[in-house]
Point group: C2
Chain length 369, copies 2
């Protein structure tokens, strides 16, 4: 699809890696792009102004959480998610499917949808493809997702059933979706099984969504299976539409994903690690609580231009962590987000310059997991 709101232009391809521009009603996404996660309509511990400063463009918010609190109708009444959380650039919402299916013992699936218990007050709720789409229309993100069922990756029969249901639900989401200013992405499922993934990629591609997501990865399978599956699915998904790898975004996975043709990533890792004292760098992680940093005047990364690295020493950050000061989470989040966004930016630059392969090889060689 390319309507007046959305357009995807591929600027360069280097192996399977691609650099593009995805136009949305709230601005252009320069792909590959990393999206910080703002589960409850806030990227934890940072302001929108700080998000802009680290170079964020796309931000993800979770339909499941926002539907339960404060409610999607309330957000719609207050002008939609962009206005509500004051993020003027593109927003993506997931469908709530992943969260609902993760509620072991608190949900019941049938062909029509899923009934589940609220984690907040125990009240009962129901998502169907139609309601998940309607809720996302109320939230008003630029990119919204089809309601899918994410299976446990190594169970063939379950993966098959979940995939088939995901396909039927994808058609229902498409039929239910009315807002032209939102791009509804279809999701490919099928666990780690090539025959299922092939079937799913073909089926979803045929529905002519404006973009595609690969779901059901980074949920417990091996890295080898994950990378193999991405590579395989992307041989089937059409080249001319954006590809989103859901919930994936460690530095090494970002590079492996880009190498295999992914355009969009999201992950809670940068902000979650930040709240647990871990700083991300281009060569690995740094536990800032380690006593080796007690008197270290250096920033987390001497080559980093983020606000945190331009101002604060490892010694100071360690003190903030020890003193349980909120500022620790804020400053490390700023740095970690900047690192992931900058990594995607550098990968994009390498693709545009035709040297992505040496860039990726050198990055992965220097990066200690």
């Amino acid at each position: 699809m390319s309507n007046r709101f959305f357009q995807f232009d591929l600027l360069a391809q280097d192996g399977q890696a691609r650099a593009g521009v995805f136009t949305t009603p709230h601005g252009d996404l320069h792909t590959p792009v990393f999206a910080p996660v703002g589960t409850q309509a806030t990227v934890k511990a940072v302001t929108p102004a700080q998000l802009e400063e680290v170079g964020a463009s796309l931000v993800l918010a979770n339909t499941y959480h926002l539907y339960l609190r404060p409610g999607s109708q309330l957000i719609a009444d207050l002008g939609g998610l962009h206005e509500y959380m004051q993020w003027p650039q593109p927003i993506l919402t997931d469908s709530g499917g992943y969260q609902v299916f993760s509620l072991a013992g608190m949900r019941k699936i049938d062909e029509d949808g899923v009934t589940f218990k609220s984690y907040i007050d125990g009240s009962m709720h129901r998502f169907t493809p139609e309601s998940a789409t309607a809720i996302q229309e109320q939230l008003g993100a630029d990119i919204i997702m089809a309601f899918d069922e994410c299976a446990i990756p190594d169970q063939y029969d379950y993966s098959l059933k979940a995939m088939e249901r995901t396909h039927r639900w994808a058609e229902r989401c498409q039929a239910a979706h009315t807002r032209q200013d939102q791009a509804l992405f279809g999701i490919v499922q099928g666990g780690i099984f090539p025959d299922l993934r092939e079937k799913s990629a073909r089926f979803i591609s045929n529905l002519d969504f404006p973009g595609h997501a690969i779901g059901g990865l980074s949920v417990g399978e091996s890295k080898t299976d994950m990378y193999r599956t991405i590579e395989f699915v992307n041989t089937i998904l059409p080249v001319e539409k954006p590809r989103y790898l859901m919930g994936v975004g460690s530095p090494e996975d970002l590079i492996h994903g880009i190498q295999r043709g992914i355009d969009i990533f999201d992950c809670v890792l940068p902000t979650r690690l930040a709240r647990h004292q871990a700083a991300m760098t281009f060569t690995g992680r740094l536990n800032l609580l380690n006593s080796v940093h007690t008197r270290d005047p250096r920033p987390i990364d001497e080559t980093c231009v983020c606000y945190t690295c331009q101002h604060f020493s490892r010694a100071y950050l360690r003190h903030l962590i020890q003193a349980k000061e909120i500022l620790a989470a804020t400053l490390i989040s700023i740095h970690n987000l900047h690192t992931l966004i900058e990594l995607a930016r550098r990968a994009r630059q390498a693709i545009l310059e035709g040297n992505f392969q040496p860039f990726a090889t050198s990055f992965l060689e220097n990066y200690k997991v």
Copy 2:
């Protein structure tokens, strides 16, 4: 005192209220001024950049906390407090006296100093006038405080003894102090007793400190006693030196203090209230968790120009509080700090324009405690 580092110029006086400029090595303070508190070398939940944006100039840090963690020698080795916490404008440190004397059951006072237990690891430590001064020299603030004993305000005998000790210690602090780029302020004690306050104000004034503080207030006495004491002490303290009212800073106390000749205030209230869902306005407090705000699209204060009020609705702030998001503390802190700093700025403007009295009357009439 007016050495090459410090100078206090009174620009205008309106009744007892004064507007001035206090020059320090890290910039000018436009008095009356409100100082946010950064106990552990961070004003809780805000970055230095956000502090600058709310208009902060002077920031207070606590010697007691920083001595125990990360240690004043470490801060000195890393370039001093300004460099360590990245606050380029003036800093004030207290002497640690108030904190140490508040440790009921964990400290022992003698004529030479105080022995106390660390709240962090139970280890034993000792402050004397000399060591408290040396520690503050290591921290490197622009304004430092004499080591004093703060008595329970309505006990005459204890207040007398504590005052006399405070006087002897003030002389020892002065003798011990060596850094010309720090202004050591003397502290007036004496509880709520006019004869003691008079004695203390005369004694401390005679020591020719570059500035004076009024200690031992806002520690449980009545508002009437507090205002009366401020008014009385300021009839004795020399007009030409800055006056600092320690630990006081609710909006109404700020106005009452300015009215009675105070130039400098500090208080944890704006940031502490912010972490407990309360927004400060020019007419009173707002509990943002109140369900009345659930769908309210208005900012905390429609006339406020702070980042929070320029962007976020009460409905959104309430959601952040309910969702226990860190951003709530940050955004409400930004607003509360801005409000207190702006209140001091408006009072100053009123003094300069010669209409402080109507300004104060109108403020106090509209303000609901």
